[in-house]
């Protein structure tokens, strides 16, 4: 053993002197080393992008002791080297040691990295200078006075946007001293080592939990070891695949726990839940902690995630359902149903009461069934990998056309222009005693026309629901449906309530005819929606379809009571008209969406910049107020809001007066940065309006936006305090 260990350094020395023997060869090799830096040892190694060196902290090492080495990269400005998990691309430096027998090198240590955004991606790495410490131990039996020669072959990747793999071979000779204990510090290297130690983790935090929900990973960390006032937090995943590296990481402190919401990566179930937590305290000082989390349910109060909690979501769903009864697209149908109930009251006795109850229950069942089917469809699509939101069915132009037809025909029927067969009539509720099937159909119809109305009231609750496990999501949807069905159910179950309704009379016919107009208005609106989805060609198709439909129904109406043989021809013609109308509707699917011209988009008159997390963060750092508008070309509400709320001159003025930065995120096509931003706010769709006052908490504005809401948000932030109470 002893012999071997003394022999090895000597043989290395021999090789080195042999190498030095030819001075010329050395020069040639040195020249080559600029191109193939791995060939010949050098220290430092200088490449186009990096000057790298391997240095020791102390001028000599005692046998049996350990000393720290530093692998130092001085990096060209704008270029980067990488952390142990490089993020979306890149590669960490790798080191291969050639050490004398008995001498051992520890692993490379990784100072705190930074997040380096690269387009939509993000890397974890270093700018300007990266220093990796390595502990080197020399065996106790090493002969004193015999220097230790070590060699390290290092490969590293350095990138600006382009990447260059580089490598170097480093030789280092360490004298051994007789003194017991560490040798004298090399004063030339003291700064490097001090800076390197400052970048190493300040400690290790135990007891962190990583919990999975459908859409997010929640990391919950006990905050007792952390600075008291936290100004910023970021979790660097130690392994690729655990999280989306580029996604925002909203965090909050509550009850002695720090919670960070992470977007799961491609291997979030398999990757090790460890990494580095970086915290900036109120004084701007940055610390980092190693975190090895345990997977499991999130503790206590932190468990429910998202901006609203579970019971509240159910309450909102129920309230939202109740409100739906008043929507212009639902109210006429319910009003008709209520009228039928009034008529039904004329029948007294247990038989009539039983029928009312049956009607109420059938109606509720109809509503719930429709909501259940829609919810299942939504959840199935979600499971299939498509991110869809409530109301997704209206993304499909033929469905919009179909809905326009439905509203138009109901309108015609209410206005008395056509009489639709008794079965459809009962949908409008014009007749009593049409059976529980009719009531069931009314329920389904009410839900069908109500679904489009849910979004503005239910945005938050549904956005929350789709992040839940499917039974909970289904329960929320059904609660919404139950809210819709509730008033009518109560009326039919409690006759005393029904008696409060006004007495039947001629006014009912007037009301019925008047209610045709909200139906026509809804149809007109849908045609406009279609014009945005498919352009004028789609409008031509749907208008043609409406004419065909009206003609068919008129023909049918005029020939009522004709001889049956001729009647059959008429019915065939009516059916042909109906089929033609449906064909025209389906044909709209093949029309491409018109692209909104730049002029139309910027009709607001407000100068906007495209949203990016970096731009937002930069403006926040400057304490500049920011208004974020997440929009999409296919989002009609967004366009309406931009016209109604965001296009006035005084708004443009108050934006510029207050120095508000207007950031617009276009979600027309999928954009992970925007999807992440929406998810951070518990949403799965646009529009989303967020106002960031110069200081204080960001304020989420309603989806149906008015100019006054925007103005008051800006004013309350400029007129002082926190800007929370708009």
């Amino acid at each position: 053993m002893m012999l071997q260990s003394t022999e090895t350094p000597a043989s290395i020395l021999q090789r080195r002197s042999a190498c030095r023997g030819s001075f010329q060869t050395g020069i040639v090799l040195l020249g080559l080393s600029l191109f193939w830096p791995g060939l010949v040892p050098a220290n430092p190694v200088t490449t186009e992008n990096v000057t790298a060196r391997l240095v020791a902290e102390r001028m000599e090492v005692a046998p049996g002791d350990t000393l720290d080495l530093a692998l130092v990269f001085e990096i060209r400005p704008g270029w980067h080297t990488y952390w142990r998990n490089p993020g979306d691309s890149g590669d960490p430096p790798r080191i291969h040691w050639s050490l004398p027998e008995g001498v051992e090198a520890g692993p490379l240590r990784w100072p705190r990295p930074e997040v380096i955004p690269v387009g939509p991606l993000a890397n974890y790495g270093y700018s300007e200078r990266a220093v990796h410490l390595v502990a080197l131990s020399v065996p106790a039996e090493w002969p004193i006075g015999e220097p230790v020669h070590i060699r390290a072959d290092v490969d590293w990747l350095v990138c600006e946007e382009e990447c260059i793999p580089e490598s170097g071979r480093f030789d280092l000779t360490l004298p051994t001293g007789a003194a017991v204990g560490p040798g004298p510090i090399d004063p030339l290297q003291a700064d490097v080592f001090a800076a390197a130690r400052a970048g190493l983790p300040d400690g290790r935090i135990e007891g962190a939990v990583l919990g999975v929900t459908d859409a997010l990973l929640g990391l919950v960390i006990p905050s007792d070891g952390l600075p008291e006032e936290i100004d910023g937090a970021w979790f660097f995943a130690g392994e690729w695949g655990l999280i989306e590296h580029a996604a925002e990481q909203p965090w909050r402190l509550a009850d002695g726990l720090l919670r960070i919401d992470l977007s799961p990566g491609a291997m979030s179930d398999e990757a090790s839940p460890e990494g580095l937590l970086v915290i900036a305290d109120a004084g701007g000082e940055v610390r980092s902690y190693e975190v090895a989390a345990v997977r499991g349910p999130l503790p206590g109060a932190m468990a429910p995630d998202g901006p609203i909690e579970l019971p509240l979501a159910f309450l909102f769903a129920l309230l939202g359902g109740l409100i739906l009864n008043l929507m212009p697209c639902v109210f006429p149908i319910l009003a008709m149903k209520a009228l039928s109930l009034i008529n039904g009251l004329s029948g007294q006795g247990p038989e009539a009461a039983r029928e009312r109850v049956l009607h109420g229950l059938a109606y509720t069942a109809g509503v719930l069934l429709f909501f259940a089917v829609l919810a299942m469809l939504l959840l199935a699509l979600r499971a299939g990998g498509a991110a869809v939101g409530w109301g997704f069915q209206l993304q499909y132009p033929p469905f919009v056309v179909f809905m326009a037809y439905v509203f138009f025909v109901i309108g015609l029927s209410l206005a008395g222009a056509v009489t639709i067969g008794s079965r459809l009539m009962s949908l409008g509720g014009a007749r009593t005693g049409s059976g529980t099937a009719g009531a069931f159909g009314t329920g389904a119809l009410a839900a069908l026309v109500a679904a489009p109305c849910t979004a503005p009231f239910m945005g938050a609750a549904l956005g929350y629901a789709v992040t839940l496990s499917w039974p909970l999501a289904l329960a929320i949807m059904l609660t919404l449906g139950f809210g819709l069905a509730l008033p009518f159910l109560l009326l039919s179950l409690v006759p005393r309530l029904a008696r409060l309704l006004p007495k039947p009379g001629a006014w009912m016919e007037t009301l019925k005819q008047a209610l045709a107009f909200p139906m026509f208005a809804a149809a007109a609106w849908l045609v406009w929606v279609l014009s945005v989805q498919t352009g004028s060609a789609g409008v031509a198709l749907v208008l043609g379809g409406l004419v065909l439909l009206a003609f068919g129904l008129w023909l049918r109406e005029r020939t009522r009571g004709l001889h049956s043989a001729r009647r059959r021809w008429v019915l065939a013609a009516t059916s042909a008209a109906l089929v033609g109308a449906l064909y025209l509707g389906v044909a709209t699917d093949r029309l491409a969406a018109p692209t909104l011209s730049e002029g139309e988009q910027s009709a607001s008159g407000l100068a906007s910049e495209p949203y990016s997390p970096e731009r937002l963060a930069a403006a926040r750092d400057e304490r500049r107020p920011v208004f974020v508008n997440m929009t999409a070309a296919w989002c009609i509400t967004c366009l309406v809001n931009e016209r109604v709320a965001l296009s006035t001159a005084d708004l443009a003025r108050s934006f510029s007066d207050a120095g508000v930065l207007y950031l617009k995120g276009d979600w027309t096509n999928r954009d992970p940065a925007i999807t992440a931003y929406l998810a951070d706010h518990g949403r799965n769709g646009v529009p989303l309006y967020v106002f960031y006052p110069p200081d204080g908490e960001p304020q989420v504005l309603p989806q149906i936006l008015t100019r006054d809401m925007v103005l008051s948000a800006i004013r309350s932030s400029t007129s002082g305090s926190s800007g929370r109470d708009g």
């Binding site: 490969d155 382009e162 209206l394 109305c453």
Partner: protein
């Protein structure tokens, strides 16, 4: 009172329209789920879509000829050999260039064809995804970044080409090529044993 009706109507109308605010957007691709569709032209100006490849096995290779990690696999003939092996086994091999105009790896159709000839590459087609739409739909992060799609259109593999994330050609010999393993699993009728790995390489230059 006068304004009551229009206001109600506007609110109702907006409410109705708000449905459109919830759009269908394709989420991050998932192994075991349908692969995202795309519609991108190749160097000959022909449009390729996943829908048009129904019933075919497809391999997608994100590439950037100037990226050292891509160079590793082309200079060693490793990628070309894999392309020939795959197309012989009935795969449609699409090399995708998502570099934006002016960024590294962006090429004209003619340059792309020259690259294919010079390197003796054998993809079925080279797609020019200059807008980056296809790259974003697939969440392509690096060059190379590999995807394998089965005949049903299901994504069965996404990740690195092999398990040696270096630029050293010498590492190819001892590496496990995940694409080749996925092809073998598919050929044997087995589920792909390693369906997701870390893609390694340069970032895609969106």
């Amino acid at each position: 009172m006068k304004h009551a009706f229009p206001k109600t109507f506007v609110v109702g109308a907006v409410a109705l329209a708000a449905t459109l605010s919830f759009g269908v957007a394709v989420a991050a691709p998932k192994v075991g789920a349908p692969a995202p569709d795309f519609s991108v032209v190749d160097t000959a100006g022909e449009t390729w879509s996943l829908g048009g490849l129904a019933g075919k096995k497809v391999i997608l290779e994100w590439t950037n000829h100037d990226c050292p990690y891509v160079v590793k696999h082309y200079a060693s003939d490793n990628m070309q050999a894999l392309q020939k092996e795959a197309t012989a086994a009935g795969y449609v091999w699409l090399s995708v260039i998502s570099s934006a105009s002016g960024k590294q790896g962006h090429v004209s159709p003619a340059q792309a064809d020259d690259l294919t000839d010079d390197r003796g590459a054998a993809p079925t087609a080279v797609l020019l995804d200059t807008s980056g739409d296809m790259g974003r739909a697939y969440d392509a992060k690096t060059t190379p970044h590999m995807y394998v799609i089965d005949p049903e259109g299901t994504l069965v593999y996404m990740g690195g080409i092999d398990d040696k994330p270096t630029t050293d050609q010498a590492d190819i010999a001892g590496a496990s090529n995940y694409v080749r393993l996925a092809m073998a699993d598919l050929a044997a009728g087995n589920p792909v044993a390693t369906p997701v790995t870390r893609p390694y390489g340069c970032s895609v230059k969106y």
